[in-house]
Subunit: 371 residues, 2 copies
């Protein structure tokens, strides 16, 4: 696709998304919906500036931003009415709501601060505007969890980029290099090859540090005969990828090879058996039961996976307590891990998309340990 | 300072900060204070993990985090009682509050979501815990605005790094290179020389893009005879720096040289005349009046400056509507700008610290345009 065709397709998609959102708004009995969560804002409007608000009703699609982003908003969001704001939300929103005759306004309860809510609410009272602020969660996030074909194209590009970056990483990660140096080499490669920044700090965790699921790269030198856990992502046209592999360098402890086999079996099984229509908690169970049967249930302390899209962590959540269910078009990670404090850890992570009821794997970096 | 001495000094500083915070808590009639804003959390506890809560009372200093960060918390926050949390705030906080006999709990209203507040509030009611949640703003941010000597040392290092990076930038920014390429070269230099990531995306804005105060680097090729606005920061031991310069390449329009002179005069005047005890709005006036007298008041659409520390934007705010006042120990930017749509813009930014009543300049990158 050329950029112009892609932009035309994305614009049509955004119009469809607005239509779906309007159905949600109507179903909830809201007059309008206020959106500021950055990925939700971008998903609906195309606007990528760092400060703005959307106001969506049955009739209106408004993007409010300040003078710094006006030109950008006009270019990126041609189907929105752009209004320039001065000062804070509470200073301009009550008047606008009153002019448009709205009374029930939904807002994003997870990404709106208590103070923003409170000041807006007080300002409406002071100005005698009859406004009910209705907290909501997950409305746009639910829409985002099911990917359109053109979103999938961007995700595939981001996945292909981490695949080649992992080949690069294998060439770089040798005894003698520090974790920080290795992470920086990977980041440089990703960005020079087109990643828009990186969606999260790259993890290169060696030796016993690999047993920390959220390790930050340290100045520790990577030695032979130890595990090296690598977790990295790329971003293309806003869409993320996420990949983990664990290398076992040289003569690593036997137990790490054993847990690598168990993690790989858990991952492969989950990828083969996960299905559309399945509860996300059941998908988690597919892998977790294998880890538990091998006696390492307590050492797998995180969820099996998470959705990936404009955010690197989004819906669905594949965990024991998730109430999400899986459907075609969802893109998520499958990433079991076993972490043994003082010894080391193994995580293997791939991205999949649910198509025709089954998982198709998007990341293809090799999992064999011989290199 | 060796790292060990620095860490010992920082630990003593954190104990002093806690003492000051406890005075604030007592003055407000609170039993305890709940903190989650990341820089506030780091400032008080030293903890750098991405998920945690502090609970501070007259007697207690608690850091609550989940299993992923337990070891890190113990290492980074030796003067805190570390507790392991499972599930959400609402699941564990009401019980703890009840056990400790707290009734009035302050929270950070700008960084706590409506949903977190609401769920905690409902959980306390359900569990019949007598808990009043009291919204507060700026308590720790006020403490952070006045820097201790060892904080200033880190800031000076971060300032020295952007100074040398700017010399590097001048060598790189030549007609033919794109804005994105130039920004990436600057970022690589900063990070290879020790910056912990970068505190904000580097701006390299050329030609008419320099008239956008929040321009993102584009694929546009830098040409001769145009302005190039550069805005960059570094981070050392958590502390940030922030520097802007505007280069006028070759035979740039006369008007840009004129506005460069005006901006420079406004900046120099503000740096010479700003004083401890002055209202921050008055500091803004020192520079703004010069820009206004030159006829460009409308083209200077942002504040004169902002505090810099663990966050790149923090208190004090030097703007027309600020209610802050300036005192010794504050570190902030002085960065007037003039932006002419369709022609170009100029911004010149330095960091200063108030010492003995006057501003000492921390960034030293040259401002002459001949190179």
């Amino acid at each position: 696709m050329t950029n112009r065709i892609a932009e035309g397709t994305m614009r049509k998609s955004r119009i469809k998304r607005l239509r779906k959102l309007r159905t949600s708004i109507a179903e909830r009995g809201l007059d309008a919906f206020l959106i500021s969560q950055p990925e939700n804002l971008r998903y609906l409007s195309g606007f990528t500036g760092s400060s703005g608000w959307l106001l969506i009703s049955g009739q209106n699609a408004i993007l409010a931003t300040d003078f710094r982003y006006l030109e950008q908003a006009k270019g990126e969001s041609p189907d929105f009415e752009i209004i320039q704001t001065k000062q804070e939300l509470r200073d301009w929103l009550p008047g606008l709501v009153s002019d448009l005759g709205w009374h029930k306004l939904g807002f994003e309860a997870n990404s709106t601060s208590y103070n923003t809510y409170h000041k807006l609410s007080e300002a409406a009272k002071t100005r005698q505007v009859n406004l009910a602020l209705v907290p909501t969660t997950g409305i746009v996030e639910q829409l985002r969890s099911i990917k359109e074909p053109e979103e999938l194209e961007f995700i595939k590009k981001a996945a292909a980029l981490v695949d080649t970056a992992f080949e690069q990483a294998k060439a770089v990660i040798r005894p003698g290099i520090t974790e920080k140096e290795a992470a920086w080499e990977i980041e440089k490669y990703l960005r020079q090859e087109g990643s828009e920044g990186i969606p999260f700090e790259i993890i290169v965790a060696s030796g016993t540090y690999s047993a920390l699921p959220h390790a930050q790269p340290t100045g520790k030198t990577i030695r032979s005969a130890e595990p090296v856990l690598i977790d990295m992502g790329a971003r293309i046209s806003g869409y993320c990828s996420d990949l983990s592999r664990t290398l076992l360098l040289g003569d690593t402890d036997k137990i790490l090879w054993e847990i690598h086999d168990i993690v790989l079996k858990a991952q492969t099984t989950a990828m083969e058996r996960v299905e559309s229509g399945m509860a996300a908690s059941q998908a988690d169970r597919l892998a977790r039961s294998i880890v538990e049967e091998a006696g390492y249930g307590d050492a797998f302390g995180h969820s099996l996976g998470h959705g990936v899209g404009l955010a690197v962590h989004e819906l669905p959540t594949l965990g024991p307590n998730s109430s999400d269910s899986l459907t075609d078009g969802m893109v998520f990670t499958i990433e079991p891990g076993i972490y043994l404090a003082g010894q080391g850890g193994v995580r293997i992570e791939d991205m999949v998309v649910l198509e025709n009821g089954k998982a198709r794997v998007l990341t293809r970096a090799k999992k064999d340990l011989s290199f």
